[in-house]
Each structure stands twice: as C-alpha cells, then as structure tokens.
C-alpha cells in the first residue's frame, strides 16, 4: 500500500510539479489508499493547522527584514568589512565569502536567501580574481547553509513548531555550529589555496580601513544584535524579534542608508508575501501526509523497529543520521521536516536524547542536505545563477560536504559544544 504512495510521490516530483502540489497529491493519495471515506475531510484541516501558528509568523518577518536590508545595499557594506578584515590572506576573497556568509546569516533566515545574494555579488568577483567558477560556486553554496544555522533561522522555527521544542534554545544553540561550519570551510580554503596558489586580495590589514568599513556596516550589524539580544533578555519572543528587526531595517533603509522609499513598500511586502507563501504552502500540504502517516501508525512501527534493535542513544543517533542523509539526498528541506520531525523526534526523546540537542542535529543535517547531490536547493539556486552545470558542481562541492558532515558528527556526539550556550544564557 505504502509503495503506491511512494511511487506517486516520486513520479510527480520527477515530472516537475511544484513541491507543494507533489506533497498535497501524495497526502490525498495516502488518504485514498487508506480507504476510509470518513478520513477525507481531515485533509483541509491539516492544511489549515500546519500554518495556523504564531511562531511561524517569524518566518515572513525574517524574510521581510532581509528584503528591507537588501534594498539598503547591505551586502556591499558587509563585503567591504569582511575584505578589510581578512583580504590580506592567501585566498583572501574566498575567506571573505565565508565571513560575509556568517554576517549575512545573522540577518537572513534561510540558506536560499544567503545563496542567491552571495552568488550574484561574490562569484563574479572571485572569477575575475582567477578562482575557478566551480570552486567559487561550491564555496558559496556551502557557505549559504550557515544561513539557517546562525539565528535567525526559518529552519529552527519550523522545527520548534513541529516538535514543541523551545525556539529560543535552538536559536542560542545554533550560534556555535554556524561558526564551526564557517571555520571548517575556511580550513578547506586554506588547503586548496596552498595547492592552487590562490591570490591575496590586498597586501596587509589596515586598522583605519577596518574601522571605516565597520562604521558603514554598523546598521546592518544591529539586526542580529536586536534579534539575539531581544530573545536573550526575554524582552521578545522570536516572532516579536522578527517584527522589531523589520522595524530597525525599515528605519535604517529609510533614514540612514536612505535607499528605501515609501513607494517601495508595496513591492517589498509583495515579494515577502510570495516567498513566504511558497514556503508555507509546502508546510500546509506536507501536513496532510503527516496525519495520514500517523493514523497509519508508520512512526510507531518505525520507532518500534528501531527500539527493538537498540535503545543506545548513540546508535539511535547514527541510525537517524543515516536515514536523514538518504532523505536529504532526494527531498526538499521543508517537506522532509514536516514529514520526518514527528517521526524521529519522539524516538530520540524515547532513548533519552536531549530535545534541544536533537533539534540542532536534525536541523543541521537537513541544512547540509541542501548541498548534497542530486537534489539540493542550494545546488540548484547557485547553479542557476552562476551557470556552473550541476554535474561539475556536484564534484567540486565534495570537500565542503565532507567538512559539513564532520561538524554534524562532532555536534551529534559532543552535545556540550552546542548545549553550553543555551544552558548558560537561558
């Protein structure tokens, strides 16, 4: 029976239906296969309830804050700052890309946003500086996955809504893994830079220029301070901090960078609305499948199967990571979260894995899946923008994927790395 459902999913995905419709149609197919007509009404309820959540409101707010900041040509200022800080090293522009990704991640909530901006701004410059297009594109695609790891994060919000974990704790816990990913990618650059003899961007660091760049970039750097600071002090919930971030970005764009006009607002709101709707529609439609799997007792069967083999948390963690590796190769990130968080989170909880720790590992793994071939949204976005074919990108990205997995494993098996911050601060 379930094989029909999986087949429908695969076929609709391959022939190129929008992911949201693929999920909705798969859910309806499962309802049909279950064969009880009294189940049908639930489809609409699940679509509604999947997005009827105040916490999810943080998603459009983070998107909007990012849109407002972009209009202020924030990225240019962040690039200048990163260059002044690190441009004097061999491979300076490559390091700059990672540093900018980290800065941007503290403003933007998703990998796609970071990826799109960096690809259009930095890849042309790197190619001009004689970096290979394939290396540049894979560096940017990988750095983009820091976007959902360092707060604010659309991924953490969705995880928290699905699993009932504290958003604040996930946000705090994401800071260290995000920085570790950045360091990991810089290590890759370091080794390749030696081998390929990458250029330096400039001769030496000049403090006065760093300070000047810092001043220009300051309004952009206020956003992460507002978000993280607001949550830390308990002044706002993540959703509220998203609204405040929009307010700050609006003030900065209107009165400091003076790049935003009142007449821009409808367009900015519309772009936000369309981007958010396409994410929300995936969550809504995927939620139907979540229910049919639950009534069919699939999560329970899977959980019983795993727990009959072992109740050792480390082994369970490994099993789930392998499952996620496989799922992540073929499924879109939000879709796999809506379907698999309710399946795996209870298993992790049952063997005594800390819920915040598991949420971080799960979200990290789903984010790394954005760059694992064949299906990875960051691969698609970056290949689209830079024109590097998916085939060659899939090869050049391997060192970055390997480093990302090392970070995942480190965090999966040394929970103290990520838990000390939320424990200390919250």
């Amino acid at each position: 029976m379930l094989i029909v459902v999986v087949a429908v999913f695969a076929i609709l995905l391959i022939i190129g239906l929008p992911i949201a419709f693929v999920l909705g149609a798969t859910g309806l197919t499962h309802l049909l296969v279950l064969g009880d007509t009294s189940f049908y009404p639930v489809a609409i309820q699940r679509m509604f309830s999947g997005i009827n959540s105040f916490s999810l409101m943080a998603i459009p707010f983070f998107v909007l804050a990012g849109e407002l900041m972009n209009r202020g040509r924030v990225t240019d200022k962040l690039v200048d700052l990163a260059r002044e800080c690190i441009g004097h090293k061999r491979g300076g522009l490559a390091y700059t890309a990672v540093l900018v990704a980290v800065f941007l991640s503290a403003i933007l909530g998703s990998a796609n946003a970071v990826c799109a901006i960096l690809c259009s701004v930095l890849v042309p410059e790197m190619v001009k500086d004689k970096y290979s297009p394939a290396f540049s594109t894979s560096l940017i695609a990988s750095s983009a996955i820091i976007g959902p790891i360092i707060p604010p994060s659309v991924t953490f919000i969705l995880y928290a809504v699905l699993a009932g974990t504290s958003v604040n704790a996930l946000f705090m816990g994401g800071i260290v893994p995000g920085i570790l990913l950045g360091i990991g990618y810089m290590a890759v650059i370091y080794f390749i830079a030696k081998k390929e003899n990458f250029p330096k961007y400039k001769e030496k660091m000049e403090l006065s220029k760093v300070i000047k760049a810092l001043i220009y970039a300051a309004p952009a750097l206020i956003i992460p301070l507002v978000i993280v600071g607001g949550i830390l002090t308990g002044v706002f919930t993540p959703t509220e901090s998203g609204a405040i971030a929009c307010f700050v970005a609006f003030i900065a764009g209107m009165f400091i960078y003076k790049s935003l006009k009142w007449s821009d607002l409808p367009k900015v709101l519309l772009d936000t609305g369309i981007l958010t709707s396409s994410i929300m529609l995936i969550i809504a439609m995927g939620n139907v499948l979540g229910w049919t799997l639950a009534i069919d007792q699939i999560p329970k069967l899977l959980s019983d199967a795993i727990l009959s083999i072992t109740d050792n948390p480390a082994v369970v963690m490994i099993l789930i990571l392998f499952a996620l590796l496989f799922i992540g190769m073929f499924m879109e990130a939000f879709a796999s979260m809506v379907i698999f968080v309710p399946v795996f989170a209870p298993i992790a909880l049952a063997v005594g894995i800390n819920d915040v720790h598991f949420g971080l590992v799960f979200s990290l793994m789903i984010s790394v899946a954005l760059i694992t071939p064949p299906v990875g949204m960051c691969l698609f976005v970056s290949s689209n923008i830079t024109g590097v074919p998916l085939g060659s990108l899939s090869k050049s990205i391997i060192p970055f994927v390997v480093v990302s997995f090392i970070v995942v494993l480190l965090i999966a098996f040394v929970p103290q790395i990520v838990l000390f911050l939320p424990n200390l601060l919250l």
Binding site: V42, G164, N168, P342
Partner: protein, 316 residues
C-alpha cells in the same frame, strides 16, 4: 458509510476504535485513556481494541474535536476549554473555586446534571462519555508567595487559551497572557511571564520547579478532559457494545479521580526533593472568591444546564 454499518450492527464483531489526545503518556489524560482502553478490551474479551494516539500525533485539541465531529476520528479526550468555541456548558466545570477538591468533583461528575450537560453535546455529533480529570489548577509564580488577592496585582500569568480562565485571572487582579505550553519554561526563565495557573504534575514533569519560587494550592478550578466519541459511530454500535463503552468510560473516570490525590502527592514530593519551591496549602480563599462572584452570574445566565449544575455543586 455509517448507515450500512448501523443496519448490519456490530454484535460479536471484532474492531478497533481510534482515540486521540494531546498530552504525553505520563499525563492523567493518558492514564485515563489507557484505563478506558484496558476496560473495553477486558469487557469485550479482546473483541474491541482502543488504539491510542497520544501527544498530538493527530492534531491539537481543537483539531481532534473537529475530527470526532466529522467522524474522521472515533474518539478523543479533549481539554474542556476547547468546547467553548461551540458551547459554554463544559466551561461550567471550571467555574472558579466551585469544584475545588477531587472529592467534590467526583460527586459532581456522577450527577444527573453532569449527564444532562454531556448529553447536550449530541447536537454536535458528540457522545459525551465522561470526564477525565487532568489535575487541579493552582497559582504558581517566580516572585513572591500569593496569600491575598493584592499579591496578584500586575502579575503576568500564563493562562490556558480559554475565555473563562482569562476572565477569572483578570477578575483576581492578575495580568493573564495566553502562551503555548512548550514556551512556558523559557518564558518563566526569561521573565516574559511571572507565573502561571498550573497543576502540580505539570510543575513536576515539565521541571517548572527549576524556574518557579512559589506555589499556592488553592483549588482554583479543575482541568477536565472530556472523553467524547462520534455520535454517529456510537449509534452504529450494537447495544451490547454501547454499554461496554459507556461503562468502561464511567469506571475509568471514577478510578482516575480516585488516584489523582496520590498522583499530586507524588508530584509534590518530586518538587520538594528537587527544588526549594515553597508550597502554601493553607491560604484563605474567601477574599479570592469574592472577586470572581460576577463570573457565576454571567455563566448561569448563559444556559439553564449551567444554572442547574452550579446549584447542584453548591450543595456538595
């Protein structure tokens, strides 16, 4: 459809009923549901299986209620306040300081007035089978001991999403704010809220004692879960099976209420063993009661079933 099933009857048939609720398996709702399932299995010699879907596996309270009303789900144990989207009668159980002990509640839920209220749910395609108590609610906070209504002034308290509960807390002088259950711990920690109306087992199982300082046991109101079945489903069962279901729910309800004092006692022991939270049990509730009398007038005017129940409860 259900029409065919009705004619065929279910005499002697083997089948499964699905029951959903939102709480974890340690919560009284689940304990009640498990008792119900066991009793149904026993009374039907294993013919009828009740399959439990705890922990929001099929949806939150409001959604589970819709599913039962639409015959999508056979049964649910649904938090009382959720019914107020359709009818005020279930709110009656939570009128302030009325059913302030488990003994009173045990007598009340077995009364004719209670049956009348449960029966009135059939206009929504719901067969009300019984009340699975979740645990008496008290006031807890991270600031000071609450001994008089004055101590509540301006205190930001997390409240269940319920019009009645918000009214009660406002009338007592506090500042109630609805908040998701999962955010309460961090909310207390980061001082977004000062306290909560809560039951003792939740303070213990959710480790709220780590971030609370004071609890005042005052029997504010009970927290009933209503065990409901789709009326169409119930009608489709044979008379023998209907009786099995009704009896099992009734026995589970009574047993659970009987065990709740000791469940609460275990929670208190766990709280005091793991924290220095101060638990007051001897507060004079009279001045608190005075502040909320207006709510009684408002609710008894809403529906004669409420008026009858309140009068019965006063005599307990």
């Amino acid at each position: 459809g259900n029409g065919d099933e009705k004619e065929a009857g279910t005499e002697g048939q083997t089948y499964t009923l699905r029951l959903g609720h939102v709480t974890q398996v340690t919560h009284p709702f689940h304990i009640g549901a498990q008792k119900f399932a066991d009793k149904v299995a026993e009374k039907s010699d294993g013919r009828i299986t009740v399959e439990l879907f705890p922990a929001r596996a099929l949806g939150d309270d409001r959604e589970l209620l819709e599913q039962v009303m639409n015959n999508t789900l056979d049964m649910g144990v649904i938090s009382g306040p959720v019914f107020s989207a359709y009818t005020p009668v279930i709110d009656t159980l939570q009128l302030p300081f009325m059913l302030n002990t488990y003994e009173k509640e045990l007598a009340a839920v077995q009364s004719e007035e209670m049956s009348a209220i449960l029966d009135s749910l059939n206009q929504f395609n719901l067969k009300g089978l019984g009340v699975f108590e979740g645990g008496m609610r008290h006031l807890a906070n991270a600031k000071k001991p609450i001994q008089t209504p004055e101590d509540l002034k301006g205190l930001k308290l997390r409240a269940t999403q319920s019009d009645l509960v918000l009214k009660i807390l406002t009338a007592l002088g506090a500042n109630p704010t609805p908040m998701a259950y999962g955010e309460v711990y961090t909310g207390l920690q980061t001082k977004v809220i000062d306290g909560e109306e809560i039951n003792l087992t939740s303070i213990s199982s959710e480790k709220h004692y780590e971030v609370l300082t004071n609890v005042t046991e005052m029997g504010l109101f009970p927290f009933p879960g209503i065990c409901v079945m789709s009326q169409a489903k119930f009608d489709s069962l044979s008379e023998e099976d209907q009786q099995i279901i009704t009896e099992a729910a009734n026995e589970a309800m009574i047993e659970l209420l009987g065990e709740l004092p000791s469940i609460d006692q275990t929670a208190v022991e766990n709280i005091t063993a793991n924290s220095s939270v101060e638990i007051l049990t001897t507060v004079d509730t009279a001045p608190f009661k005075e502040k909320v009398m207006g709510i009684y007038d408002e609710y008894t005017a809403k529906n004669p079933l409420i008026k009858d129940f309140v009068e019965m409860a006063k005599g307990l």
